[in-house]
Symmetry: C2
Subunit: 311 residues, 2 copies
């Protein structure tokens, strides 16, 4: 590498700590130090993005930096946590300073929107693989879990479903469709931190939709020991996704495609009125195990296809 | 991949949580939850190991798992922290179950020695790249930092220096030397957690020796705004390393070779008697900037060579 690891980090990644009372020591020592405020728990998650698997070779570095952070913050959002700190493990093929500049601007630009400090990391050489660990705070005992959905809970989702999946198809070269909204959703998912904080006190369970509503809702069902029924007519779809379904007949795409990074959460009927965010009621938690969907007057088990790879 | 990501994790990596009062939620939700005890701060670090850069292709998976965790715990040791929790981001070329079994046994075997829980992670496919984030606890304000060495402090190191460097040379095929101790030190560094805890109240500053004493001590000097003088005759060397130096004349190797994962720490003269671990006094902190070494009756600036790569 042409400039030293520490030189790189110093030049592009070290910024003034914004949350000094929490992030007492950041980059530059063997470890970072976090002072957790009284009455709070620490929430921690990690996600890796691999070139050719999670993003295309040659992806725009600014959008990549932004998305890498967004997908990690999305996990914090699902717990109802407020993000405070991240570490970044960068494995790079080469030192390309213009790439690093844009990547860091994308990453730190989004971090800045949530006053999240980059408190540590590691830079190594090898295939392009990016791992983030994101840390946040939640009042003790108040994190939203996957395991506490209750029978009769209403199931909600934020935003529309399937736009990122459509954006992915467009990026892969499916030129029958075009949708700037879908492309934007695919490249620039925005973590639903504020929504997670807003529903924390009324939701019984929550997950972020990274692998498609069907797969992710199944995690809630399994861990809560319940089942669910979705109502197809209520699934929120953009015009672009509706057009895609009308043309292809692939109505399952918005339920099976990943990367929407919306929240799916469940709320008991008596608390539904206290929901204070834009969201859509798409189904109900039931005692009977399994995931069903009501569509065209019939209720059937929802069986979805697997994940499509980038390579 | 032949079995699902979650299946893999469940089969090899999910163990009963040992520190349930700290690690409230582990693997299986969007995030893990850590409850930091009153009066403590959280200490956090991340390190990546890349095939061909930090370990040889075909490295023994059990030793690799162990070393991956050890190098991360070593950073916690340098802060005087007690390790509690780790996350693991695994990028794998393929699902090789016997490799995963041995890797997890090495990783979790060492974790178990320190009652450290694996609380989260991510599994992806790509080049073999392993990132760990290690978390520990330290009483508030009592972490050992790089930035607080004081003029006249005595400089100490734990263990011998240069054995891992010699082990690396042997592994790379230098057949003029053989040393089981050196090979063991290279393959199975043991994090100096107990030593870090024991010196926390008497040391002014500390760092773990991952890049060689000269490089690492320079971090302390730079961040503390001081200089230092080492005494060559006091540097603790094993028989194997002494033999290596006698044969090659390469006396700088134990000061410049990485991966010893010993601790280097500084203690003010009036507290030296309270040091309660095996260690060696190798030099002194001075007001004059720079790192010097006294050798063969002369004092000279210590200029060391860079890092040798695995590839």
């Amino acid at each position: 590498m042409s400039i030293s690891e520490f030189g790189l980090i110093e030049k592009y990644f070290i910024k003034k700590i914004q949350r000094g009372s929490v992030n007492r020591i950041g980059i530059g020592d063997d470890c970072a130090l976090i002072d957790v405020p009284l009455g709070y728990e620490l929430v921690i998650t990690t996600d890796t993005m691999v070139e050719g698997v999670h993003f295309f070779s040659g992806a725009d570095p600014r959008l990549l930096g932004q998305k890498l952070l967004a997908v990690n913050l999305s996990d914090l959002a699902a717990m109802g946590a407020e993000p405070t700190s991240v570490t970044l493990a960068l494995t790079l093929r080469e030192v390309n300073e213009s790439w690093l500049k844009e990547f860091s601007e994308g990453f730190l630009g989004l971090a800045n929107q949530f006053s999240v400090d980059l408190i540590g990391g590691d830079t190594t050489s090898g295939a392009l693989i990016l791992t983030v660990q994101a840390v946040g705070l939640v009042p003790k005992g108040r994190a939203m879990l996957r395991s506490s959905a209750q029978i009769d809970d209403f199931i909600f989702v934020t935003g529309n479903l399937g736009d990122a999946g459509l954006g992915f198809k467009i990026e892969k070269g499916n030129d029958c469709f075009s949708s700037d909204d879908a492309l934007k959703k695919f490249h620039q998912p925005f973590p639903k931190i504020n929504e997670g904080l807003a529903i924390r006190d009324c939701a019984n369970s929550c997950i972020d939709i990274s692998d498609g509503l069907a797969s992710d809702l199944k995690h809630i069902l399994k861990q809560s020991g319940v089942g669910a029924k979705l109502d197809w007519d209520k699934i929120p779809l953009s015009k672009g996704v509706k057009r895609y379904i009308d043309t292809t007949g692939d109505w399952q795409m918005p339920l099976s495609a990943g990367e929407d990074y919306e929240l799916c959460f469940t709320v008991s009927p008596d608390k539904v009125d206290s929901i204070d965010i834009d969201c859509t009621h798409v189904g109900v938690i039931e005692a009977k195990a399994g995931l069903r969907i009501q569509r065209l007057g019939k209720t059937e088990e929802l069986v979805v296809k697997g994940f499509e790879h980038f390579s």
